[in-house]
C-alpha cells in the first residue's frame, strides 16, 4: 500500500475537476511528481484532453516549459487507451503481437457467432429456444438474435469480472442464489400427474371445442384457444416443460352470467385450474432456469476460450482485451507491474464509481502501489451498471480505507435555494448515505428554474438507474 492514498467522494457540482487539477499542480510545484510520470484515468478522451491542457497551461504560467512539453509523454486518457498503451509497450510479456489490430464490433460478433454453434454447453438451449423464453418480438428480433444477444452480454459480463469470470465455482454460487430466491417446491411428478389427468378428463368429455355454444366473438376465440391448449396438453408431453401452458391453464374460461357453457364443462375446467395452480410450487421452472444459466455461463466460458485463441492466432484484440489482458499481465507478471510502476509517480482516477470489477482490479493494482494516488468519484452518479460497473467496489474501498477519505462538502454550482431543495430530495432518496452539500454560490444569483430540473433529474436518474 502506498503512503498517500486520497479518496475523494465528490457530489455533483462539488468541484472535483478543480480538486484534481489543484492536487496535481501542487504535486508538480513541490516536485513530488514529474509531469511525464503522471498516470491519470478519466472517463472520456475529451476530459483527458481538458485535464492535460489545463495542467499544461498552469506549467507554462509558472515558466516550466520543459515540464509542459514532458506532459505529452504522460499516461493521461481513458482506461481503454491506458490498456492499449500498456499492451503495446509490454506486448512481448503478454505474448501478443506488438501491432495487434483492434477488432471492429462486427468482426467480433462474426467471430463469436461462428463459435456459438460449436460450444457444447449451449446446445441444449439452442435446440429449444422457445422453452427458454426466446421468441420473436418486433423490438428484439428473432429468437436466435435474442439468444445471441444474451450470449454476447453474458460473455461481456464474465470478461468484466476478470479471473472470477472463468472460475468454475461462479456457476455454483449463482445456482445457490437462485435456489434461495425461488423458495419452496413440491414433488414434480405428483403435480404433473394431477394436471395431466385433469386435462385428459376434460378432453375425453369434450373432444371438440365448445366455442359454438357462445355467441360473443371474443369468448369464442378464447374457448377455441382453450380447447387447443387442452388438446395438446392431453395428447403431447408439453406439460413436462411448457410452463407458459401451465400458466394459461390457470385462467381457463368458465361460465359467467352472459355465457353458459355445456353441462359438466365448468367442473372439469375448475379441476384443471386447481391442478395448474400447482405451478407456484413446481420445481420445473427453477430447474429450467438452472439449465439456462448453466448453459449460458459454461457456453460463454467455452466461447471466450475459443475466441481468445482465435484472436491470439490472428493478432487481434477487442475493447474488452484492452482492460482484461492488461489486468492479467499486471497480475501474472510482477516484472511488468514493476516496470509500469517504475515509470509513474502518481495515479489519478476520475469517475471511479463507474468501474467494473476488472477495471477496478487493473486500476487498484496500480493505485495501491504508486507513490501517490488520488481517487475521485460519487456513487450517486454511477450510471454504467449496464456495462457491469459496480459502485459497491467503490464503497468497499471507502470502508477499507476510512482514513484516506477526504470528501468534498461544498457545491459551487447552485444557489442556496436550489441546494436546499436538492439536499432535501437527496436525503429522501438515499437516506443516511446522502451527504448534504453546502452551497457556495451567492443567494439569488443567476440561476434559472431549469437548474432545479437538472439537479433533480440527475438525482432521480441515478437513484432509479
Amino acid at each position: 500500500m502506498n503512503n498517500s492514498l486520497t479518496i475523494v467522494p465528490a457530489g455533483a457540482g462539488s468541484g472535483k475537476t478543480y480538486r484534481i487539477e489543484t492536487t496535481l499542480a501542487d504535486w508538480l510545484d513541490k516536485d513530488e511528481v514529474r509531469a511525464d510520470r503522471i498516470l491519470a484515468v478519466t472517463f472520456t478522451e475529451a476530459s483527458a484532453r481538458d485535464m492535460k491542457s489545463r495542467i499544461r497551461a498552469r506549467l507554462l504560467q509558472s515558466g516550466r516549459s520543459d515540464d509542459a512539453l514532458a506532459l505529452g509523454r504522460a499516461y493521461v486518457g481513458t482506461i481503454h487507451s491506458l490498456g492499449q498503451r500498456l499492451l503495446t509497450e509490454h506486448a512481448f510479456a503478454a505474448g501478443n503481437a506488438p501491432t495487434s489490430r483492434l477488432l471492429e464490433d462486427t468482426e467480433r460478433d462474426l467471430l463469436i457467432r461462428s463459435q456459438i454453434g460449436k460450444a457444447p454447453s449451449l446446445q441444449p438451449i439452442a435446440e429449444n429456444l422457445s422453452r427458454f423464453g426466446y421468441r420473436f418480438t418486433p423490438q428484439g428480433g428473432t429468437a436466435e438474435d435474442q439468444f445471441r444477444g444474451k450470449i454476447l452480454s453474458t460473455i461481456d459480463l464474465l470478461r468484466n469480472l476478470g479471473p472470477r469470470g472463468s472460475d468454475p465455482k461462479l456457476l455454483d454460487d449463482l445456482i445457490d442464489t437462485m435456489k434461495v430466491d425461488y423458495g419452496k417446491t413440491k414433488k414434480q411428478n405428483k403435480l404433473h400427474a394431477a394436471l395431466k389427468s385433469a386435462v385428459q378428463n376434460m378432453f375425453k368429455a369434450f373432444p371438440n371445442d365448445v366455442s359454438e355454444t357462445v355467441s360473443a366473438k371474443t369468448r369464442r376465440a378464447t374457448l377455441r384457444a382453450d380447447h387447443q391448449l387442452i388438446r395438446s396438453a392431453a395428447q403431447t408431453d408439453r406439460l413436462q416443460t411448457d410452463w407458459a401452458a401451465w400458466q394459461k391453464l390457470r385462467s381457463l374460461f368458465i361460465s359467467n352470467s352472459n355465457s353458459k357453457l355445456p353441462q359438466g364443462y365448468d367442473e372439469l375446467a375448475e379441476a384443471i385450474i386447481e391442478a395448474a395452480d400447482g405451478l407456484e410450487l413446481h420445481p420445473g421452472p427453477l430447474n429450467d432456469a438452472i439449465e439456462h444459466i448453466t448453459g449460458l455461463v459454461n457456453g460463454a466460458q467455452e466461447i471466450v476460450a475459443a475466441y481468445d485463441m482465435e484472436k491470439r492466432q490472428r493478432g487481434l484484440i477487442d475493447y474488452a482485451d484492452m482492460i482484461a489482458r492488461t489486468e492479467e499481465i499486471l497480475r501474472e507478471t510482477p516484472d511488468t507491474l514493476q516496470a509500469v510502476l517504475g515509470e509513474i509517480d502518481c495515479v489519478v482516477i476520475d469517475e471511479f464509481q463507474d468501474t467494473n470489477p476488472v477495471q477496478f482490479a487493473l486500476l487498484w493494482r496500480l493505485a495501491q502501489h504508486a507513490p501517490k494516488a488520488l481517487i475521485v468519484g460519487d456513487r450517486k452518479q454511477a450510471i454504467m451498471g449496464f456495462q457491469g460497473a459496480d459502485p459497491r467496489l467503490s464503497q468497499a474501498l471507502d470502508d477499507q480505507f476510512p482514513d484516506a477519505l477526504d470528501p468534498l462538502r461544498c457545491n459551487w454550482r447552485s444557489v442556496p435555494e436550489v441546494m436546499e431543495f436538492v439536499n432535501s430530495v437527496g436525503a429522501g432518496l438515499f437516506g443516511t448515505d446522502y451527504e448534504a452539500l453546502t452551497p457556495q454560490a451567492a443567494p439569488g444569483c443567476a440561476n434559472s428554474p431549469i437548474q432545479y430540473v437538472n439537479e433533480i433529474s440527475i438525482l432521480l436518474s441515478i437513484c432509479y438507474a
Partner: protein, 255 residues
C-alpha cells in the same frame, strides 16, 4: 418466407402421395436430410457455422410441425393423394379462369376430400379472416376442383361440393382449420358459414372495373380496412413504395 418454404418442402417430401405414413422415429431420422436438401436448394449459406443457431432452430421447428402433421393425418385417417398439385379451372364466383398449386390434397376414410394449404403461422388470425368471410385461396382451389378445365386438370366433380373441404394447416401451432363440415373431422377446428363472400364480391367488382378499362387505385384507408374489416395484413400496401405512390386519398377514391 424462407422458413415457410423449407417447412413446405419437408412436408411435401415426408408425406408423398399414395404412400404409407412414416412413423415418428422415421420422420425424426429423415428430417435432417430433408432440411439440408431444402437448404441446399434455397439457402446454402444457412449451412455455414455462422448460421448454426438458425439452422438448428429451423430443424427443431420443422420436426415439431412434421410430427404434429403426421399425428393429424393418423388421427383423421387421412391419406395423401396429392402434393404441390397443379390445379386449373373456372371460378364461378369470379367468372374467370384460375390456376394454382395446392400444397396437399387428402382423402378421408369416408371419401371426403380436404384441399390443404400449409401456412407457417398461427391459427388465430387465419380463423379471424375466415370468420370475416375474407378467404380466397382455398376457396378458389375448391372451385377449380369442381370446375376443372384443361386435359390434365384434377377433376373431383364426382366427389361433390359438400364433400370437398377447404382447409388451412397452420404449422406454428399445429392446427388444421376447415371451412365447413357435415361431420366433424378429428383434430380440426371448423369455421361455420361462408368463408369467402366478402373477398369474392370485392374482387368481382374489381374484375368488372378492369374489363371495362377502369383501374381503381387503392385509397389511403384501404390498408386499415383490409386489416380491421377483412383481417388481412396489407403487406402489399404497407411495404411497397410503388403501390403507395399510386394511392389516392379517400375523397379522390369516392370521386
Amino acid at each position: 418466407m424462407l422458413r415457410g418454404t423449407i417447412v413446405h418442402d419437408v412436408l411435401e417430401h415426408c408425406f408423398p402421395p399414395d404412400c404409407e405414413l412414416p412413423d415418428d422415429a422415421e420422420i425424426s431420422t429423415a428430417i435432417p436430410t430433408y432440411v439440408s436438401n431444402a437448404l441446399d436448394r434455397c439457402a446454402p449459406w444457412l449451412l455455414d457455422d455462422e448460421w448454426a443457431l438458425e439452422h438448428k432452430n429451423l430443424m427443431v421447428e420443422v420436426e415439431k410441425s412434421t410430427l404434429a402433421w403426421a399425428q393429424f393425418l393418423r388421427s383423421a385417417g387421412a391419406k395423401v393423394i396429392g402434393t404441390e398439385k397443379h390445379l386449373q379451372g373456372a371460378s364461378p364466383s369470379l367468372n374467370i379462369r384460375t390456376h394454382g398449386y395446392a400444397d396437399c390434397i387428402l382423402e378421408l376414410p369416408d371419401k371426403r376430400i380436404l384441399v390443404v394449404d400449409h401456412k407457417r403461422s398461427k391459427s388465430t388470425n387465419r380463423i379471424k379472416r375466415l370468420e370475416a368471410q375474407s378467404d380466397l385461396q382455398v376457396t378458389l382451389y375448391k372451385e377449380m376442383l369442381l370446375n376443372p378445365q384443361g386435359d390434365d386438370a384434377l377433376d373431383l366433380r364426382a366427389t361433390g361440393a359438400d364433400s370437398i373441404i377447404a382447409a388451412y394447416h397452420t404449422t406454428m401451432d399445429h392446427s388444421v382449420i376447415v371451412s365447413h363440415e357435415t361431420k366433424h373431422i378429428t383434430g380440426t377446428q371448423a369455421v361455420s358459414g361462408d368463408i369467402s363472400s366478402t373477398t369474392t364480391s370485392l374482387l368481382s367488382e374489381r374484375i368488372k372495373d378492369l374489363t371495362v378499362g377502369n383501374v381503381p387505385l387503392n385509397s389511403i384507408s384501404d390498408a386499415h380496412i383490409f386489416e380491421k374489416e377483412f383481417c388481412i395484413t396489407p403487406y402489399a400496401l404497407d411495404g411497397n413504395r410503388l403501390v403507395q405512390a399510386f394511392m389516392v386519398d379517400d375523397q379522390e377514391a369516392t370521386e
